[in-house]
């Protein structure tokens, strides 16, 4: 039952956040806004506490099976293993961060904003837990609509275009995935006579007996398309810079921190185990796509003058490592990919919060108009430095561990991929340091008067940095948890 809470708590909070707003009438701001902020914050923290308690004391895996749509054999079944748990914890943490990041910035229709935020979180948690493919598709799509509203209503100048672009890209991928799920369901049903969407049953579909290699490949590509758009893989990433840049801070935090991770999670959990042969055949292409993403994202980030767009493009680069790691078919690479996803969620979530805080204060994201911020606002500058170092993968930060493990794994399967991916680290140095230098050092280009980070913001960012350091300095803690994933997903623990 405890698993249902991960979905139920955000859902209840979403309705609560909306209800308090409605009852307070059209005025919105003020107290009703505060109530909905607190409702969402409490909901996220409750999920975080729940995840932490399972992490510390839990015997994994935990399952929940509940009948749902009997006529087609779909059930409400959730399952929690070592792969889901760190992402759930991340979702609780970043959910809270998103609320805090929008504490000042969002002043219009506050209750509806938090309704959408909570609903997105419910969908994300559902994605990380679902062990029934119908339920998974349901949750997968569920997170889109509220996210669309978050970007479309509260975003920056180009929000309408960015929101539609985001929605159409992800939905096209999602529909291909749904088509593939339906195809797998039909193949399983017609070959075994048992019509079911259950993950463990579909895992045992006699694929080679029912489907030709071409069909297997097509179905696998359907899944891959859905996940690759989200991740995003090179070629399908066009929505990302726009959506991340135009979204409000909370939206960017959730997008970069969590939504992208659902793509990598989906590959590890579904695309590869369900179609092992087709995935293995496809692996080289996927790895090269990853490399292309690493280099392209890095080069694009080098040339940006918009700070938020720079961070967004760096995400394309960092998530390329994830793609390489997952498809290296190597335990080290897979472990690295998971660590990379977690650390990227933490560091980029924090960076987006920082950029948002900066924009709230000085009214621009243009690097050319910044400069000298470290002197004017020391706390902002210090945290900016730490996060920049995380962005370029300094040892001690989680990102370093993730990238290094990915490179180990990649090297074992293809040296060329590893070498070119390693080049991405060099580019990362360049764009990260350039960003820091332009924004925080030097003389201020314009004179402004603004406050340093508030105590709440400093604490939040501090916590994120602390977790990032913990992952970086003691990766064994996370690796031990990942090793509790269902067999076959990751592989054994590595040195």
């Amino acid at each position: 039952m405890i698993l249902a809470l991960f979905v139920a708590i955000p859902l209840v909070c979403a309705i609560a956040a909306w209800a308090v707003g409605r009852s307070a009438g059209p005025g919105h701001g003020g107290r009703s806004g505060l109530a909905s902020r607190i409702a969402t914050l409490v909901g996220s923290l409750a999920c975080l506490v729940l995840a932490a308690s399972l992490w510390l004391g839990g015997a994994l895996p935990v399952r929940l099976d509940q009948a749902w749509i009997a006529p087609i054999g779909a059930s409400f079944s959730l399952s929690l293993d070592g792969l889901s748990l760190p992402f759930l914890a991340l979702s609780g943490l970043l959910g809270a961060v998103a609320v805090i990041a929008s504490w000042k910035g969002i002043e219009e229709r506050v209750p509806f904003f938090h309704f959408n935020l909570s609903l997105t979180l419910a969908g994300i948690n559902g994605v990380f837990l679902a062990s029934d493919l119908f339920l998974f598709a349901f949750m997968w799509e569920l997170m889109l609509v509220p996210m669309f509203f978050v970007i479309d209503i509260w975003g920056h100048e180009g929000r309408h275009r960015a929101a539609v672009k985001f929605f159409i890209f992800t939905q096209a991928g999602g529909l291909l995935m749904i088509a593939a799920i339906a195809g797998l369901y039909a193949a399983h049903g017609s070959s075994t006579g048992e019509w079911s969407f259950a993950y463990d049953k579909l895992l045992r579909t006699p694929l080679s007996a029912t489907l030709s290699p071409t069909l297997q490949m097509l179905l696998m590509l359907g899944f891959f398309a859905g996940f690759a758009v989200k991740l995003p893989a090179f070629g399908l990433h066009a929505w990302l810079p726009d959506a991340h840049t135009e979204a409000p801070t909370a939206g960017s935090v959730l997008l970069a921190g969590l939504l992208l991770k659902t793509g990598g999670y989906g590959m590890l959990r579904f695309a590869i185990p369900l179609f092992p042969d087709a995935s293995r055949a496809f692996a080289p292409i996927a790895m090269w796509l990853g490399v292309a993403g690493i280099l392209w994202g890095g080069v694009m980030a080098l040339g940006q003058s918009d700070m938020k767009r720079l961070v967004a493009n760096s995400s394309v680069s960092h998530l390329g490592f994830v793609l390489v790691g997952i498809y290296s078919f190597d335990p080290a690479g897979r472990n690295g990919a998971v660590i990379q996803m977690l650390s990227h969620g933490l560091s980029t979530g924090a960076l987006f919060m920082l950029v948002g805080a900066l924009q709230d204060r000085i009214g621009t994201r243009d690097l050319g108009r910044m400069g000298g911020i470290a002197r004017a606002a020391p706390r902002l500058g210090a945290l900016g430095l730490v996060l920049t170092l995380a962005l370029l993968g300094l040892p001690g930060m989680g990102n370093f561990v993730g990238e290094l493990l990915v490179l180990f794994g990649a090297f074992r399967s293809s040296a060329a991929v590893a070498v070119l991916a390693g080049l991405g680290l060099v580019i990362a140095m360049a764009y990260a340091l350039r960003m820091f230098q332009l924004a925080f050092h030097g003389e201020a280009k314009e004179t402004r008067d603004f406050a340093d980070l508030s105590a709440m913001e400093t604490t939040t960012l501090g916590i994120l940095v602390a977790v990032l350091l913990w992952v970086g300095l003691y990766p064994r803690g996370v690796l031990a948890l990942i090793s509790l994933a269902l067999p076959g997903l990751i592989g054994g623990m590595t040195p």
């Binding site: 949750m139 159409i168 529909l175 088509a179 339906a182 369901y185 039909a186």
Partner: protein
């Protein structure tokens, strides 16, 4: 006619009696509109109740060669009557505010739903044609109903001419089929066509009948009338065309096309069926979405969307079998409910001097939260997003389409549905573009009015355009539609179970 037959046909009999009663009400009652509305609403509700209480226990039952009262007809009748009832209720405040509420409107609604119900239960060409004409003739009058508006007349004329041509095609096809088989029974005609014993004349007959059906369903390339007619008709009547008329035409298609495709898929006769429907389906999806994409006017956009939606339903028809049939029925129900919701919202927020345009949707979320919420849910359901009925519907279509590819009955039907499933995925993504555009508009802030325009209006002494109507009954129907879309979306099991058990009967 035996008493059992009467029980089985009870919904049709009640509707026919209500038709007569409504004519009497229009002629003799004091407050004509009110009396006719009462007769209409009560008649439809009674017929709906009779369908489940009296008719269901007798099923399946054939009444002569004319009607077959079975699970399919029951599902069809339910969709038809529930939609028509909702439309009648929504129409009241809509018409009252336009000083156009006359009793005849409700009488026509009754006739249209009687025709549609007969169509859904028809098993012979005679009843098929009778039902179709009853439905069409009522629709001509309903489209033209508001005489003071020129668009209505123009739309009605377009519809009249084109629909008569389509009816003529259908009729001619029927005559040829009758000449070839010597039977009016649809089952035998389709059987003869599927095993190829009819010869070339039979192919011509089927093609002509196909044109008639495709026209009424507004399936591409016979869809051009839809935009014009939806635009010209008032919102409730457009809803009637989009839901009742299409559901009525889809039921016979499901009944007579699904079995031969399943039975003989791979055979030559059947596979040409499959490819023809596949091409119609793909063309509708693409044409409908492209039309809707370019459309600035809301009702025309919904028309384009419903052309595309019918294309989606055809995917399940090609899949065939009982799974294909129940998928098509489920999608039909979800589609009808969502379309009804969308049009009911348009009707509810329309100002008195015309139907709602895009600008009326701006900032709807703050002006009319209920209408905005129902419109949101309906559009998302049409787009197939989760938590709404449309998601389950789309999933059923995918699994029906790809299921026939994976099963042993695969062959060419499998290839066709495989391609269609991919088309379906991309078209759904494409359709999001125009659904989202409207959605996004509803949640924006109000537009700033140009100062000159405001001044001019103040000078002329008129207040803002006369506001839209608010009626308790219509409001609760709106809420009910939105709620049902959500409930079916979250717990689709019961409805799905009901439909698949009925589709098997």
């Amino acid at each position: 006619m035996k008493p059992d037959d009467a029980f089985a046909a009870a919904p049709l009999i009640i509707l026919a009696l209500a038709c007569i009663a409504s004519l009497a009400a229009v002629s003799f009652a004091k407050r004509k509109a009110r009396a006719a509305f009462a007769v209409c609403a009560i008649g439809m509700a009674l017929a709906l109740a009779a369908a489940f209480a009296l008719s269901l226990p007798m099923m399946p039952r054939r009444i002569g060669d004319l009607l077959s009262m079975d699970g399919l007809s029951l599902v069809g009748t339910t969709i038809i009557l529930a939609s028509a009832l909702a439309i009648a209720i929504v129409s009241r405040p809509y018409l009252a505010r336009r000083e156009g509420e006359r009793g005849e409107y409700y009488a026509l609604l009754l006739f249209a739903s009687l025709g549609a119900s007969v169509l859904a239960a028809s098993s012979s060409m005679a009843t098929l044609f009778l039902g179709l004409e009853l439905l069409s003739v009522s629709l001509y009058a309903l489209v033209a109903y508001r005489r003071e508006r020129a668009e209505g007349g123009r739309a009605a004329f377009t519809y009249l001419i084109l629909a008569s041509v389509a009816s003529a095609f259908l009729f001619f096809g029927m005559a040829l089929a009758y000449y070839q088989t010597g039977s009016l029974e649809l089952q035998r005609i389709i059987g003869a066509a599927a095993d190829g014993s009819g010869g070339p004349l039979m192919i011509a007959a089927l093609a002509m009948m196909g044109v008639g059906f495709a026209f009424k369903l507004a399936v591409a390339p016979f869809h051009m009338w839809a935009l014009e007619v939806y635009e010209g008709a008032s919102a409730p009547v457009a809803a009637l065309i989009a839901t009742v008329s299409k559901a009525a035409m889809a039921i016979p298609l499901i009944r007579f096309l699904a079995p031969p495709i399943l039975a003989t898929s791979g055979g030559d006769g059947a596979s040409s069926f499959v490819w023809i429907i596949a091409i119609l389906s793909g063309a509708s999806m693409i044409a409908g979405n492209l039309l809707a994409l370019r459309e600035e006017r809301v009702k025309r956009m919904l028309a384009g969307s419903s052309i595309a939606q019918l294309g989606y339903i055809l995917v399940a028809l090609i899949a065939g079998g009982s799974y294909g049939a129940s998928s098509a029925l489920f999608y039909l129900a979800a589609y009808s409910l969502s379309t009804l919701g969308a049009f009911a919202c348009v009707a509810a927020i329309s100002p008195a001097d015309g139907d709602a345009s895009r600008s009326d949707f701006r900032a709807l979320a703050t002006k009319r939260p209920l209408a905005a919420a129902v419109m949101t849910v309906s559009l998302l359901s049409l787009a197939g997003m989760p938590l709404t009925a449309g998601f389950m519907g789309k999933f059923m279509l995918f699994s029906a389409g790809l299921g026939s590819g994976g099963s042993s009955a695969g062959g060419r039907a499998g290839t066709a549905t495989g391609i269609l499933a991919i088309l379906l995925a991309f078209n759904s993504a494409l359709s999001l573009f125009y659904y989202l555009r409207l959605l996004s508009l509803m949640y924006r802030g109000p537009a700033a009015e140009a100062p000159e325009a405001k001044k001019g209006r103040e000078a002329a002494g008129e207040s803002a355009r006369i506001g839209p109507s608010r009626s308790l009954l219509a409001g609760s129907i709106l809420a009910l539609i939105g709620l049902s879309i959500l409930v079916i979306g979250i717990v689709p099991g019961p409805l799905l179970g009901l439909i698949s058990s009925l589709a098997g009967r």
